[in-house]
């Protein structure tokens, strides 16, 4: 499926003379154990449970040679989930070869690219597909096959992308939480392009920092990572069918860093067969340093998300205000706490969240996440999660 990426990696490796004495190798890993407790049984069939255990393994293998001018990273991901067979999944997060020169580099293979500056959503982050089953808040992404040339110039960094091969979004199964009443049937997925998931997408980005400002501009043309859904009947059961359209998008992301203020903005304009629309996410973070004569910092965040499509937007934050507070104790264990609320101005729904984490010893980290949803309007996507309020404890062990 991703022949181009594979051939490029293979060709690259073959042409590199491998002298054993200059090869650097490193293996690391992370195992995450997650225990979730739900306030009640779910609102849909097969969600009649109130706890779940899940374990994820993420090893990383790294080789470097040629005086550090070439490196190869392999980072697979595996998850086993007690309840949802669709959440038990594996992925290649990264399998990429990078070749470096003084003012350019070529990155080939499965990779993750992050674009954006805001906290509650990243509209400009279009390269990778969402690994939706990983959860609502983490923003986990699937590895994307790519050929990426990156040029460093005095006037900024230019990244050019060829993206052969499309990854479908992952979907929670029958037994999963955080889904709508209907399950997405992966076998029914369709594409606007006759090339289907073999359509080659392209993207370009320019980014630069001047003084207090960091700015990025991007252009993307290809398969929309976010599908449109349609109810179909399959074997006498109603299911959702995902259809991936073609789209073209331009966008800007910018941050100004002025004393205690971070001013952030992301704006996109997307053209797809169903809509031409603007969307934006903008706001600020203000930090009080050393509060109460202590080492702790307290940040106050506020962001507003807008989507020109209004209530029919597929985005969760189409007319939403997000407020948050971030406390960093700056202690030996790097303890931090983030509390937030998102209020939807169209549907009058709310979602509260708490996230706290702390290092334990030298090799462990504990994270606590909790979320409460409240929504009355059936048209609001959040109404699907009103019985999915949860507390989750995650223990990460690093090797």
């Amino acid at each position: 499926m991703n022949k181009i990426a594979w051939i490029a990696i293979g060709a690259g490796l073959l042409t590199q003379p491998l002298a054993a004495n200059e090869l650097f190798f490193e293996a690391t890993a992370k195992i995450s154990t997650e225990v979730s407790l739900f306030a009640q049984q779910g609102q849909f069939a097969n969600q009649d449970y109130s706890s779940n255990i899940s374990v994820a393994l993420e090893p990383e293998f790294y080789w470097e040679w040629n005086d550090a001018s070439d490196n190869l990273t392999f980072k697979p991901f595996f998850r086993v989930d007690q309840r949802d067979s669709k959440r038990s999944h594996a992925d290649i997060r990264e399998l990429s070869w990078v070749h470096l020169a003084d003012d350019w580099e070529v990155r080939t293979g499965f990779r993750k690219v992050f674009w954006g500056v805001t906290e509650y959503q990243n509209l400009v982050d279009v390269i990778n597909q969402s690994d939706t089953v990983e959860g609502l808040s983490k923003g986990e992404k699937l590895g994307q096959p790519m050929l990426n040339l990156s040029l460093v110039r005095d006037w900024g960094i230019v990244d050019l992308f060829v993206l052969p091969g499309f990854r479908e979004q992952t979907y929670v199964g029958n037994d999963g939480r955080f889904r709508s009443s209907l399950v997405v049937d992966a076998d029914s997925t369709s594409y606007q392009s006759s090339k289907g998931k073999k359509h080659v997408d392209v993207a370009a980005r320019w980014s630069h920092s001047f003084d207090l400002y960091d700015v990025g501009l991007h252009w993307y043309k290809g398969t929309n990572r976010a599908p449109q859904y349609q109810v179909i009947s399959k074997d006498g059961t109603d299911v959702l069918k995902a259809n991936y359209q073609q789209m073209e998008q331009v966008g800007i992301d910018a941050q100004a860093t002025i004393d205690n203020w971070l001013l952030k903005s992301e704006v996109i304009y997307q053209d797809n067969p169903s809509d031409n629309y603007f969307a934006s996410q903008m706001g600020f973070e203000y930090t009080y340093y050393g509060i109460q004569e202590s080492a702790a910092d307290l940040g106050i965040l506020m962001e507003y998300g807008y989507d020109q499509r209004g209530k029919k937007a597929s985005a969760l934050l189409q007319n939403d205000i997000g407020l948050g507070a971030r406390l960093a104790l700056n202690d030996t264990q790097s303890s931090s706490l983030l509390v937030g609320v998102i209020h939807d101005l169209d549907f009058n729904s709310n979602s509260f969240s708490i996230e706290a984490d702390r290092r334990i010893g030298e090799n462990w980290k504990a994270t606590l996440r909790a979320r409460i949803f409240s929504a009355d309007d059936k048209d609001d996507l959040v109404s699907n999660f009103t019985k999915d309020d949860y507390v989750k404890v995650i223990f990460d062990r690093y090797f």
Partner: protein, 265 residues
């Protein structure tokens, strides 16, 4: 090269003669500045540096926690240094990298790379007084010494571990500094800062930094191998060990940008 060395020796010599001749006429403020300038002059021209640091953090009960960081630093003429720091320990932050363009005037430019998210975040540099990775070193303690960051006052001569020392008070000019003053012991022979007392915003003694085991590199640049920071108020301490100092690695501006930050290992 030879000519340049000769010139700088002459300049250094004349500065020394000047300061000796005008010692009587100098105010304590002028003398403090002259001595502090000598510290900077003697450390000019190292161009670039690689080093590793290991921090051992100890709390009141003596429990230890370790930090390991590798650094690349580029000297920038007429401005602050550029540096790239890579975190190896603790494990949960392994791969996190920090890019900093420090400036003699105005705020520094700083970016943090978070490897799990592949995200580069521009961060505020306003937080000079905050602790570096939970240690007793604050960000400003680890920043390069620049003349414009302080005003000065010479106090007295004193015997110290490395012979005779000047004792100079340095008052931060930045309102965001966590200190009202630093009292610095500088040895007369080589102008090395061998001890620093830090006074907090209430002007009480907060911390003492002692620099030990000075080694000379490239026949000119003195670097401490161990730096011990003791917090007198919290009774916590941090030992910083510098390892593998290497100068003249041919680093250039192109080693310090967002791309090199993202692939720092």
């Amino acid at each position: 090269m030879k000519f340049k060395t000769l010139t700088s020796t002459l300049i250094a010599a004349s500065v020394l003669t000047l300061s000796a001749n005008s010692a009587l006429a100098e105010t304590p403020e002028e003398k403090g500045l002259t001595i502090s300038k000598q510290v900077v002059v003697r450390d000019n021209g190292w161009v670039d540096m690689l080093a590793s640091m290991k921090m051992v953090l100890r709390n009141k009960q003596g429990q230890e926690s370790v930090r390991e960081i590798r650094m690349k630093v580029l000297e920038v003429a007429d401005d602050g240094d550029k540096s790239l720091s890579i975190f190896d320990r603790p494990r949960d932050v392994k791969g996190t990298a920090f890019l900093s363009f420090s400036h003699t005037q105005g705020a520094d430019d700083q970016w943090l790379y978070l490897p799990a998210l592949k995200r580069v975040k521009r961060i505020a540099s306003r937080n000079k007084s905050g602790p570096f990775m939970g240690s007793e070193f604050s960000f400003e303690d680890l920043a390069s010494f620049e003349i414009a960051k302080y005003s000065y006052k010479y106090i007295e001569d004193q015997a110290c571990d490395l012979g005779q020392c000047f004792v100079v008070e340095q008052y931060p000019t930045d309102k965001n500094s966590g200190y009202t003053k630093r009292v610095v012991w500088i040895d007369k022979a080589e102008y090395r800062m061998i001890k620093v007392d830090f006074y907090d915003r209430k002007n009480s003694l907060l911390k003492t930094l002692t620099s030990l085991d000075y080694q000379q590199y490239k026949g000119k640049y003195w670097r401490a191998s161990t730096m011990k920071m003791i917090n007198h108020q919290s009774k916590k301490s941090t030992d910083l060990q510098w390892l593998d100092y290497r100068f003249g690695n041919g680093l250039t501006e192109s080693d310090f940008n967002k791309n090199t930050l993202k692939r720092a290992r």
